[in-house]
């Protein structure tokens, strides 16, 4: 049975494959030219793409706008930085971040899911702000300077290991991890659980009457998003060598929302393309004026008004119809 949702998911897979291909070409070119700067920038774009992915799970599938997803991104960055400083182990950092994500995601989810709609947006905003201010004022966490001095890391992957200091190596590693996040999210959203989230967005009341506890579904969605955001954040100090309070600020959450809207809300892959696009726009516009926010703001507003499905709204329908024709034959 191939329905519209499955076809759309498939179109997304093709687009991700294309992104990976582009990433590989980019890595080869970067390696050949000995570039560091752009590889690092692209790695960062992918890491923030993971954060945007988590925003899309909430906004595009469950219909919940989080204005505080930076809470989990920052959480991951700080926990990972602390773990890396203490143990210099990738797996310890990831394990600690995952544990923190589950605990904080559950707590945050229980609080935030008591409300709906704009209140959800504002409570997530408020929670992130509380944590941001608390971290900003905590000497033990480096206060306004953040945690610095995260050591360079050898990520042991069993068969081989990747150094976080290698621009190409770490870029490819982050590309793989981001694709893993995508696969995880795409898998979950194409299960009956994921379909129920989509149903929740369409008509929450009826979900309750066809036999599902909607608060549990929303909590599940929130938790998945929290885990992906936290783990994305956990990669950040490996790339940059520090975790700063800015990662918890509203600008980080806001950027993730902009990314999702630009890329195409409710498409997953849009979050990744959106992040790449936003990074390109920022560095291109930033190269001739420091006022790139005006440009980004205007683009963002235009997309909200004119292109509610973002960049993917332009690309995906065509791909879906091609795939649809293919499957009917």
């Amino acid at each position: 049975m191939r329905d519209a949702i499955t076809l759309q998911t498939r179109a997304g897979h093709w687009l991700v494959a294309l992104l990976v291909l582009g990433g590989l070409v980019f890595a080869v070119v970067g390696f050949a030219t000995g570039d560091t700067f752009y590889l690092r920038l692209a790695t960062e774009a992918l890491i923030f793409g993971g954060l945007a992915l988590s925003v899309d799970i909430l906004l595009g599938y469950t219909g919940l706008l989080s204005l505080g997803q930076a809470l989990y991104f920052g959480l991951g960055a700080y926990v990972s930085a602390l773990a890396l400083i203490a143990w210099q182990s990738f797996w310890a950092a990831i394990g600690a971040s995952l544990a923190a994500a589950l605990v904080c995601g559950l707590a945050g989810g229980l609080i935030a899911n008591r409300v709906r709609g704009v209140y959800f947006a504002l409570i997530t905003f408020g929670m992130a702000q509380v944590l941001a201010k608390a971290v900003y004022n905590t000497r033990a966490l480096g206060a306004s300077d953040g945690l610095i001095g995260v050591p360079v890391l050898d990520i042991n992957l069993g068969l081989f290991s990747v150094s976080s200091a290698s621009p190409v190596g770490f870029f490819l590693f982050v590309l793989a991890v981001t694709v893993l996040f995508y696969v995880l999210a795409a898998y979950l959203l194409d299960t009956p659980f994921g379909r129920l989230l989509i149903a929740l967005k369409a008509n929450e009341n009826r979900v309750l009457f066809i036999g599902y506890r909607t608060s549990t579904l929303r909590l599940g969605s929130y938790l998945v998003a929290a885990v992906i955001a936290t783990l994305s954040g956990a990669l950040y100090p490996m790339l940059r060598g520090f975790a700063s309070p800015e990662l918890l600020f509203f600008s980080t959450s806001g950027n993730a929302v902009i990314t999702v809207i630009l890329g195409g809300v409710g498409t997953l892959v849009g979050a990744l393309y959106g992040s790449v696009l936003l990074t390109i726009v920022k560095s291109v516009v930033g190269s001739w004026t420091e006022h790139h926010l005006i440009v980004i703001g205007l683009i963002f507003m235009a997309v909200v008004v004119l292109l509610p499905k973002g960049l993917m709204g332009l690309v995906q329908p065509a791909l879906v119809s091609v795939l649809g024709r293919g499957s009917r034959r």
Partner: protein
């Protein structure tokens, strides 16, 4: 003990009160816009900043302070009106109005903030305090300008409440907030009332900008932190409630002032946000009902 009251606590309370009045002005605009249009105006903080910058610019060409108190809000009215008609109305009837309008105003905030930076540069300006000196009340010295702020702000707040609850115009606004279609069928020009209310809310934010400029200095991102407090106020007070915004505004700024004194200024914000989060969990509708439900 008495000394402490005289020199520490009372001035702190008055400072909190002056800030409280300014926050309430900003929050009133937010809450009226939400109560009536069902729109979270994410650019409200930038309108507050815009008001401060317009005051700064007009002050430099020589307009006296008392004239700014009138000129800035009046200049803000058409700006707000145009933004509502030109932007918000464009997505007003989309399926997901709450989220779409929130996103659109968020985008506008980015543009406005960066535009201010483009025109005025990133560095803070510190306008002169228009009213210097202090008065002695029962042995406590209180800065005149803060008292003036409380008086002017209080007057505007009371005036706003009177307009909303005691005039024919206010009745139309409340009718439109209660039931848009019913109000329209009764001949209320709903679209113009919406735009007008947005303009009015934005003008209040501008006025707060004028009043606070001499205290906080003027810089492009000045709206960011301030708007957080205003959001907190309208959530705790009850979104769309004027009375709630006043009560919550006074309460939260006092909490801020007192906790700065007893705990530490750096923890004042987390404490206030913590109150908001607790309020959202315990009583999501806030202290008081919305605009349509007097």
């Amino acid at each position: 003990m008495l000394d402490y009251l005289q020199f520490v606590l009372t001035p702190q309370i008055v400072t909190g009160l002056a800030l409280g009045v300014a926050v309430i002005l900003v929050a009133l605009g937010l809450t009226i816009i939400f109560g009536l249009l069902d729109v979270i105006n994410m650019s409200h903080g930038e309108f507050y900043a815009l008001g401060a910058f317009i005051a700064l610019a007009l002050g430099q060409v020589g307009l006296p302070f008392w004239a700014l108190l009138f000129a800035v809000p009046i200049l803000m009215l058409p700006i707000g009106y145009l933004v509502e008609r030109g932007l918000i109305q464009r997505v007003f009837h989309s399926k997901d109005r709450h989220i779409t309008t929130l996103l659109l105003t968020f985008g506008f905030a980015l543009v406005l903030e960066d535009a201010l930076r483009l025109v005025f540069g990133p560095n803070p300006y510190k306008p002169e305090t228009p009213i210097r000196g202090a008065v002695e009340v029962l042995g406590t010295y209180l800065p005149l300008y803060r008292l003036f702020m409380v008086a002017i702000g209080g007057l505007v707040i009371v005036g706003t409440a009177l307009i909303v609850y005691r005039t024919r115009l206010g009745a139309m606004v409340r009718a439109a907030a209660f039931d848009r279609n019913m109000a329209a069928s009764l001949g209320v020009p709903v679209e113009r009332v919406y735009a007008g209310a947005f303009a009015f809310g934005v003008a209040l934010a501008g006025l707060a900008g004028v009043l606070l400029a001499p205290i906080y200095s003027v810089f492009p991102t000045m709206g960011r932190d301030f708007i957080l407090l205003a959001f907190t106020v309208i959530i705790v007070g009850g979104m769309g409630s004027i009375g709630g915004a006043v009560i919550a505004g006074l309460f939260l700024t006092q909490v801020q002032a007192i906790s700065s004194l007893y705990i530490s200024p750096v923890w004042a914000d987390p404490i206030v946000f913590g109150i908001m989060v607790i309020m959202l969990v315990v009583r999501p509708q806030g202290l008081r009902g919305g605009l349509g439900h007097a």
